[in-house]
């Protein structure tokens, strides 16, 4: 079992398709302080590669990406 990551904010993008999860995540991250963590939940199968690219492009670290009960969960740390 890996360490539990504590999120500061949760964003549920279930049911949304591209580009909404990316756009909503970017919006939610703007509200956070540097170092805070956003937990984003999505059902779009395109979300994992998109969130990896988004993280690389924006410099906000993708701490963890996992699948739970058919949902994709991402922990993103604001740079």
């Amino acid at each position: 079992m890996s360490d539990v990551i504590k999120e500061d904010q949760v964003l549920d993008c279930s049911g949304m398709l591209c580009p909404m999860p990316v756009v909503k995540t970017s919006k939610a991250m703007k509200e956070l302080q540097s170092g805070q963590v956003l937990k984003m939940i999505a059902t779009d199968p395109g979300a994992p590669p998109d969130m990896e690219a988004w993280s690389r492009q924006t410099g906000n670290e993708l701490l963890r990406s996992m699948t739970e009960a058919g949902k994709f969960i991402f922990y993103l740390k604001k740079k």
């Binding site: 398709l17 591209c18 580009p19 909404m20 990316v22 995540t25 970017s26 988004w54 924006t58």
Partner: protein, 174 residues
């Protein structure tokens, strides 16, 4: 990085040349995704693409002469929804109102699947400071007036857009 300034964010330059509903999605989807990644984005709306900047967005789609377009029903059981209905040209060309029915079906199918509407995507682009440039020449040719377009757009010509695109990292024609 833009070539003239090593510290500038990445830049995407798009040309939106088509105004039907099916072709309205790609420029707004790519632009909003790039904007969400912190990129600078500019879209040049020209020829039929210019209509995507109208305040009153009325983009529709015609399956006629669009042979690759899947015709799907946005209601009923999943198996029924996944059927790709064959639509002979002779039928599409002769049934009055076929285009508005097809447009309605496409909008509903996209909505059911969780895709934002073209209006919503465009609003997001505005919010993300995407530069939207309407082609002056197209306005003149089709007799459109500035007041018919959203106030957030600019009006310009080929040289203005090319100068912007010359410094872009990604340039796409849609």
């Amino acid at each position: 990085m833009s070539k003239s300034d090593p510290n500038a964010p990445k830049r995407l330059a798009l040309i939106a040349s088509k105004g039907t509903l099916d072709w309205a999605y790609p420029p707004f989807i790519l632009a909003s995704a790039a904007g969400a990644m912190g990129w600078e984005v500019g879209i040049f709306f020209t020829f039929y693409g210019l209509t995507l900047l109208k305040s009153d967005l009325t983009a529709s789609v015609s399956p006629l002469g669009n042979p690759a377009m899947p015709m799907k029903m946005p209601f009923g059981p999943e198996g029924f929804q996944n059927i790709n209905w064959p639509m002979p040209n002779i039928l599409m060309a002769n049934v009055p109102g076929f285009e508005s029915v097809a447009t309605g079906l496409m909008k509903q199918t996209f909505k059911n699947k969780g895709v934002a509407s073209v209006d919503e995507l465009r609003d997001m682009c505005v919010e993300l400071d995407v530069r939207m440039i309407g082609c002056q020449m197209t306005m003149d040719v089709f007799g459109f007036k500035r007041e018919e377009f959203i106030k957030e757009c600019e009006v310009g010509g080929a040289a203005m857009f090319l100068e912007y695109a010359a410094d872009a990292d990604v340039q796409l024609f849609i």
